[in-house]
């Protein structure tokens, strides 16, 4: 398989405004919708006074829990079918009107009468009510190998610390939107989702419709990061009910403020870590996580899960527990679990290195896990040590002792490093390829492109397999009329589509080879099929000076072109011979102004090993984007709840800080290509890797610079003074 840089397939469409995002659909007769929000955080809706709203100009309809009673009960419909108020800002109704301002006006004029109950608005108020969830994602919530308590009691050094991380919000540039309409018993739903087929399935369930009558489209996404998923469904359902009620298309788009409340968050955590060492080797790890979930749904990140894998250690105990609060519901957010989890583990490792008097990098190498000790399996491939070596060399880690705590202008310099990791898994996928008579190729798969490059990757895989130039490729995705593709999450899309497209293109290659080699008039007639290669729009003989254009082959025997479908299964976790994991080593140089508390990241080197890299340009963009998100989590992002009201404070980009251009360090990205025989095409996901590890690397660098150990995120001015 080739490794090559191709510019974005859809780049021109996006920068020229030709890419139509789903929220931009403006069908004839469109109504605009707005949400009526609860002003309190806990209680029960008694009544809605719509008498004034209904008289306002443009008012079309109001949809409430009463309308949603027609939907089948499920976790996805509970919030809109029931009268319970679980959090401040929870919508209690949707209003549709002729224009957006009329809809907002009518929503404002709708009075909700709510019987209030005492709200629990902060996790810290109820740590004693923590409970253990059944699972954290696909992993058990609690695990135990060996006897960590005993090992800790016998350890030569024990590091026992608490680390905390704040609530973050995803905030893709494109807010959630839906434009939907009914055609008789059928419905068309244009919406921002990371999972069109799951969205179709939940609509089928809620509305009790056959999936074939539902079309969901999500052809371009302005980012997702995990929030364009199930928490959006209730509000999308209300828009669909409004459309059915009025028999007109309805459009709902969330405001930026609503993006802080309605579509998920990275949960806050309090993590207790204990590391036990004997002679510099880990003999015990305990990692206990308490995290927030809402009163209406349950979610736990896999925060301590990666502690089960990263280091060689015979005695490991991990636990997750949750506290329910009247705050918005958390969902996975980029690098779910691994970002907060590695912050704790990799900070604690740094603290241990300091106490043991060894270099933090050495300590990690000394405790490298050469197999998956949790599952008792080998790694499918593991180049973490190479990441450490390459990253350290490029970054100049060896100069750490000489450089740290030196001053550049007002900045005290600090070096820090940490590890990142994320599992390599796949979902089931189908893909279709159609070679047309003119030699152009259509590639179709019902997955989505979050903006991360799926169009390009899909086109590139097919182009390389059939030797068709990229400018002759058309890629279609984001439509449930296409073959079922994976949801966009968990860094799985490229790894999932690869084998499906390979299977489809292999069929086409076989068919084309058969046409050419069995035709005596072809220059390739009589050649063995394995002698053929597909390149430059031709089929060529590898052994001799013979070849034929794809268009000529098609013209003779398949004037309408050729089409094939391929499919590939999901990772079967029960039958794995080897554990797939991607890794990275993050090195950072920061400056801290110790008198003024300001922190700036100056340089970041990330060395990543994540299987075979299809497109280094896209991969580099992904890694840098991930690292920037990680810098935001480390130094800027924090969603605060007002304890008295349960209201989220500062629901705008003025108050919710993310890194801006002036905060950007110099990035150096190293990619260590792995040959992984266990994974199709050797492809591992990369999307999450950049977003974890860097938080601990930054905290470790702050310690290196000013000798203050910060065990909370984000690290702010007040922490460094």
């Amino acid at each position: 398989m080739k490794n090559r840089t191709i510019a974005r397939y859809e780049g021109t469409l996006k920068v020229t405004g030709q890419a139509r995002y789903e929220g931009e659909m403006m069908p004839e007769g469109l109504l605009h919708a707005a949400l009526v929000e609860s002003p309190i955080a806990c209680g029960e809706l008694q009544s809605l006074d719509t008498s004034r709203a209904a008289t306002l100009s443009g008012f079309a309809t109001l949809v409430t829990h009463e309308d949603a009673a027609s939907l089948k009960p499920s976790a996805a419909t509970a919030l809109i079918r029931e009268k319970a108020i679980h959090f401040h800002g929870q919508p209690v109704a949707l209003v549709a009107a002729t224009t957006l301002s009329e809809a907002r006006e009518a929503a404002k004029a709708t009075q909700a009468s709510i019987a209030a109950r005492t709200a629990l608005t902060q996790m810290g108020q109820a740590l004693d009510q923590a409970y253990e969830p059944a699972m954290v994602g696909r992993f058990p919530a609690s695990t135990r190998r060996g006897d960590s308590a005993k090992a800790l009691s016998e350890a030569g050094l024990v590091v026992r610390r608490r680390y905390t991380t704040a609530v973050n919000n995803h905030h893709p540039m494109e807010p959630h939107a839906v434009v939907c309409w009914w055609e008789g018993n059928k419905v068309v739903v244009h919406t921002c989702t990371q999972a069109i087929f799951a969205t179709r399935a939940i609509i089928a369930h809620a509305f009790e419709m056959p999936p074939v009558d539902i079309r969901v489209l999500s052809r371009y996404l302005g980012g997702g990061f995990g929030c364009k998923g199930q928490l959006w469904w209730p509000w999308m359902f209300w828009a669909m009910l409004a459309s059915r009620k009025t028999n007109r298309p309805v459009r709902l788009e969330l405001t930026r403020a609503q993006m802080f409340i309605l579509v998920g968050r990275r949960q806050e955590t309090a993590q207790d870590i204990a590391l036990g060492f004997v002679d510099g080797r880990l003999t015990a790890i305990e990692h206990d996580v308490v995290a927030q979930t809402s009163t209406h749904a349950e979610f736990s990140d896999s925060t301590a899960v990666y502690t089960r894998f990263l280091y060689a250690c015979p005695n490991v105990t991990t636990r997750h527990s949750l506290v329910r609060t009247n705050e918005p519901q958390p969902v996975p957010m980029r690098a779910p679990g691994t970002a907060p989890g590695t912050f704790a583990l990799e900070s604690a490792m740094d603290e241990a290195a300091e106490l043991l008097g060894v270099d933090p990098l050495e300590l990690r190498l000394d405790n490298f896990a050469d197999r998956d000790q949790e599952n008792g399996r080998p790694w499918s491939s593991n180049s973490l040590r190479e990441c450490y070596r390459v990253g350290a060399e490029r970054f100049g880690w060896a100069e750490r002792r000489a450089r740290s705590a030196t001053k550049v202008g007002r900045w005290k310099i600090g070096f820090g490093m940490a590890t990142t990791l994320y599992p390599a898994i796949r979902q089931a996928c189908r893909a279709r390829v159609a070679l047309r008579a003119d030699g152009s190729l259509l590639v179709q798969c019902g997955t989505q492109d979050m903006g991360s490059g799926t169009y390009t990757a899909l086109g590139q895989i097919a182009a390389d397999a059939l030797g068709v130039p990229m400018d002759k490729i058309t890629v279609e995705l984001g439509d449930t009329e296409l073959p079922d593709g994976p949801f966009s999450g968990g860094s799985q899309v490229t790894a999932s589509i690869f084998p499906a497209v390979e299977a489809a293109t292999a069929k086409l290659r076989a068919a084309l080879a058969s046409i050419a080699t069995t035709d005596a008039t072809s220059p390739l007639g009589g050649k063995p099929p394995e002698d053929l290669e597909f390149a430059d729009g031709m089929i060529r003989s590898r052994s001799g000076n013979a070849g034929e254009r794809l268009t000529d082959v098609l013209a003779r025997a398949a004037a309408d072109g050729l089409e094939a479908e391929g499919e590939s299964p999901a990772t079967d976790h029960q039958k794995l011979a080897a554990t797939g994991m991607g890794y990275g080593a993050i090195f950072v140089e920061i400056g801290v102004d110790p008198e003024l508390g300001e922190i700036r990241v100056r340089r970041v080197c990330g060395a990543f090993a994540a299987g075979h890299i299809l497109n280094p340009l896209l991969a580099k963009s992904q890694y840098i984007g991930g690292l920037i998100g990680g810098i935001g989590m480390a130094l800027h992002e924090q969603t605060a709840t007002d304890a008295a009201t349960g209201s989220i404070l500062g629901k705008s980009f003025t108050d919710y800080l993310i890194p801006v251009h002036a905060d950007m360090p110099a990035f150096d990205i190293a990619m260590i290509d792995e040959d992984d025989p266990h994974l199709p095409g050797g492809v591992k996901g990369i999307g999450m890797l950049g977003t974890a590890g860097i938080q601990a690397a930054i905290a470790n660098a702050v310690y290196d610079a000013i000798g203050k150990r910060i065990r909370k995120l984000p690290i702010r001015i007040e922490d460094c003074l």
Binding site: P39, S57, H88, S101, E102, R104, E105, K108, A257, R410, E595, L596, G597, E598, R600, L635, H636, A640, D642, A643, A644, T645, S647, L649, G650, K651, S652, T654, D655, L657, P659, V660, H661, A662, D663, R716, I717, E718, L721
Partner: protein
């Protein structure tokens, strides 16, 4: 028509604007960088918006010792003005530390001085705020108050003034000319900003219909060689100050002849540090003198639960600003 609708009037001339400005529900529009977000968030609902951006109020002139800046001069134009750069670098520093390049290209001098607080309780119509809704209470005092004041707060309001430029101007003893249909009056910039009361917290002392038309500094060029604006924030750009300090010194014969210090992010208005100023007079610009000024700067600070870190931060910022200003040639 929606309650958020308003009449947009492009004022033909200043007298026309001032006459309209006196009516209830009127609001002046210049750059709109604060008015528009406030309107979009339903925090203000003017019935008539009077656009003054094109009125001839944007001139910048230096005459003798006086610098006069028209109220609708764009921030980026002021910061790029050769005379301002040469003689009033503190004004440029204050502007360039503000907002983003795009915002500075449209925001005006007068609007900058009248921008409303960034306190998140003020900016959310669902929360208690005496400044927005007199008598509704203050959510900040016992809520999230990292951003709140150290000085000049009241039980009714602990919101800070967000302008960087106002801090720089306060240090230079700027005066403003305020016009209305009935005439003009001139006041010190500090008189523009009242302290909050028990249940009210007006942003300014302007009367209905009054408009800032001119900002004036007399004899402020004497600080040109020893002035700096220091802004401390959580990210490198496009954020309001956590704490800021404007420092201006006149050093003669190796001693500080005059000192001006104002702090931002710590009070409902640019907070002049008069005790620190007084302690510097006649002293050599040494670390010792600066440290003493820093210690005096935080006298009387009244922290809340979440903002006590601003006390050492302000002290350190004063010292750093004095080091920078005092070290210039």
């Amino acid at each position: 028509m929606s309650s958020a609708s308003f009449n947009y009037i492009r004022a033909a001339e200043l007298t026309d604007a001032l006459a309209r400005g006196e009516r209830a529900g009127a609001a002046y529009l210049a750059g709109g960088t604060d008015l528009l977000p406030l309107w979009k968030a339903s925090l203000t609902a003017p019935q008539e918006v009077i656009d003054i951006s094109h009125l001839p109020l944007a001139t910048i002139t230096r005459s003798g010792d006086a610098l006069t800046i028209g109220a609708t001069a764009r921030l980026s134009d002021i910061a790029a003005h050769p005379e301002v750069k040469a003689h009033y670098p503190l004004v440029c520093d204050g502007i360039l530390a503000s907002a983003s390049g795009q915002v500075r290209n449209v925001a005006t001098m007068g609007g900058n001085l009248l921008q409303r607080t960034r306190c998140p309780y003020f900016r959310d119509a669902g929360l208690a705020c005496n400044k927005r809704d007199p008598g509704s209470g203050c959510g900040t005092r016992h809520g999230e108050n990292r951003h709140a004041v150290l000085f000049g707060g009241s039980p009714g309001c602990v919101a800070t003034h967000p302008s960087d430029l106002a801090v720089a101007l306060a240090a230079l003893d700027a005066r403003i000319v305020v016009s209305s249909a009935s005439g003009e009056r001139e006041l010190a910039l500090s008189e523009l900003y009242p302290l909050p009361g028990e249940t009210t917290a007006p942003d300014s002392s302007l009367r209905p219909g009054e408009m800032i038309t001119v900002i004036r500094m007399l004899n402020a060029a004497r600080f040109a060689n020893h002035a700096t604006y220091l802004k401390i924030r959580d990210r490198a750009s496009f954020e309001f100050a956590v704490v800021s300090v404007a420092a201006a010194l006149r050093i003669a014969d190796g001693a500080i002849a005059e000192a001006r210090l104002a702090a931002g992010g710590v009070a409902p208005l640019p907070w002049r540090l008069e005790k620190s100023e007084a302690a510097l007079i006649g002293r050599a610009p040494t670390e010792h003198a600066f440290a003493e000024a820093g210690a005096l700067a935080i006298e009387g600070a009244r922290p809340l639960e979440g903002n006590a870190f601003k006390i050492p931060l302000l002290r350190n910022a004063v010292i750093r600003a004095l080091q920078t200003a005092g070290g210039q040639s």
